[in-house]
Symmetry: C2
Amino acid sequence: MKILITGGAGFVGQRIAMECLRRGELDIADKSIETIVLTDNADPPFWHDGIREDSRVTTSFGDISGNHYVQSLFNDQFDVIFHLASIVSGHGETDFDLAMRVNLDGTRYLFEQVRAQENNARVVFASSVASFGGDGMPDSIDDNTKQTPRTTYGMTKVIGELLVNDYSRKGFFDGRSARLPTVIVRPGKPNLAASSFISGLFREPLNGENGVIPVDPSLQTPVLGYRSVANGIIKLAELDPDVLGTDRAVGLPAFNVSVQEMMDALKRAAGNRHLGEHVLKRDEAIAAICESWPKHANTKRGLEMGLPMESSLDEIVTHYIEDYLDAS
Amino acid sequence: MKILITGGAGFVGQRIAMECLRRGELDIADKSIETIVLTDNADPPFWHDGIREDSRVTTSFGDISGNHYVQSLFNDQFDVIFHLASIVSGHGETDFDLAMRVNLDGTRYLFEQVRAQENNARVVFASSVASFGGDGMPDSIDDNTKQTPRTTYGMTKVIGELLVNDYSRKGFFDGRSARLPTVIVRPGKPNLAASSFISGLFREPLNGENGVIPVDPSLQTPVLGYRSVANGIIKLAELDPDVLGTDRAVGLPAFNVSVQEMMDALKRAAGNRHLGEHVLKRDEAIAAICESWPKHANTKRGLEMGLPMESSLDEIVTHYIEDYLDAS
């Protein structure tokens, strides 16, 4: 089995790659993993140990919004494609055209290459709860809620879901969309996602630095730990298509928690570790984006499909401490 | 005021043009209509009397899926753009790539030209109830129902609505989407829309010919008369943006009626005119598409905005007889 991961040098891309390497095979046609191609636009700030050293892994760097580059990736025929590459929410708000090129044109170039393959490859497209919003949004969203996004990022994610459904309906490939809540705790540096501070409110205090909170601490948002995100995306690839029905977009399970609850969970899970401070410093641009997102996600459909979630916020923090602080 | 109508040689495009010419002005910034540019891919089978003869009208023929052609239309700055050009449902099912080029690429080229203008032009995009479908669709759809289309045509219509919302949110233009039910009664020849037989079941018997019914007569679908469709689209252009809220896609009012009820209405409204027969001849491809569409539309939101509808199906048939049979 050959796997392609776009955005493969990003945090979620690397976590999926690590998990695939660890398992050695996926529950799709009983095939062991021969090759994982990780493509991204640039070498990442850091690689997790064991990825680049693995003989099954190839990396390729280029711009997915260029059709020639996308075509060049498809000398191999891939069995599973995890499509994570994306301009993120905050970045898309400052550069509409870039978001359209990467998130929409790039996705179409990729999907056309998969369509041109002879097999009926599995595709998992990473969508987002940021695809919801607007004045018609209910207090709790689920997989049947209309998506009327209030960011260009969110708009391109809904379009991706629509393309996945239609390419699957036409038999061009066997696609699924994973609607991700905010992924915590991302290691490394902040990124341009408006939700970036949410990982920061765990990560920076654990590094002895200030965690800046640009929104009201009462802001509630769905979140999920990175282990469950990676495992859920892989599980979606493995699911029988009949389980999905005609709408192949599935919200990953999530904890619906406030920023304050996350701050409290950090303090509990950190035990007697020294923690930096949380500093409230409102940023209107970030707050406006985050406040447009759903406060509560009902993820019953994903849970019934067997998509995983942690037992508590505290467990997510504990995993982060194990994986990124104690390990190094 | 300068108006551009894409798909302007089509039936709905011509009806909008006729109505604009008749009114002489629209209720937008109190400006009288100086110019109407009608663009389409080819000279139509017929022009309604009075359109081409009007000194305010210019026609232009070219392929909207070519960016150069779209750019060439924008030597003028338009105040209102009615964007109707589209590959229709049945055609899109047999030519996916053409539907993507015309309905998605063409729409993006057009929207980029409007964005490049200095004004904040009004745009009305013609969407469709065919944008609904799939196994999660409720018995009755409304403006808050998730759209999970089962045709490529429907998919591109949802994408158009998303683009209208985001271009409007960004201030690139002041857009609205009109979600059209099946428009009756279209004069002339059948087209490649899967719903084409619905106009045919009125039109062909009134011409003394057989009206072929390719679906079960119990099939129910939302329909609206062409006068209300044209007036509703113009009304949407005139509405204050505050009335629309963040989701600028509005379902036009509709009659939720079965094919049998339409056959019966024809017989009542035709009076003592000679009518051809209705012939049941199932077509699985057409039936599959039509059966994937909503059976019932709750169009309360559009009605509250003042969008018009006829008083009965019979009135729609009477209009058709007046406009297309008695007039000629």
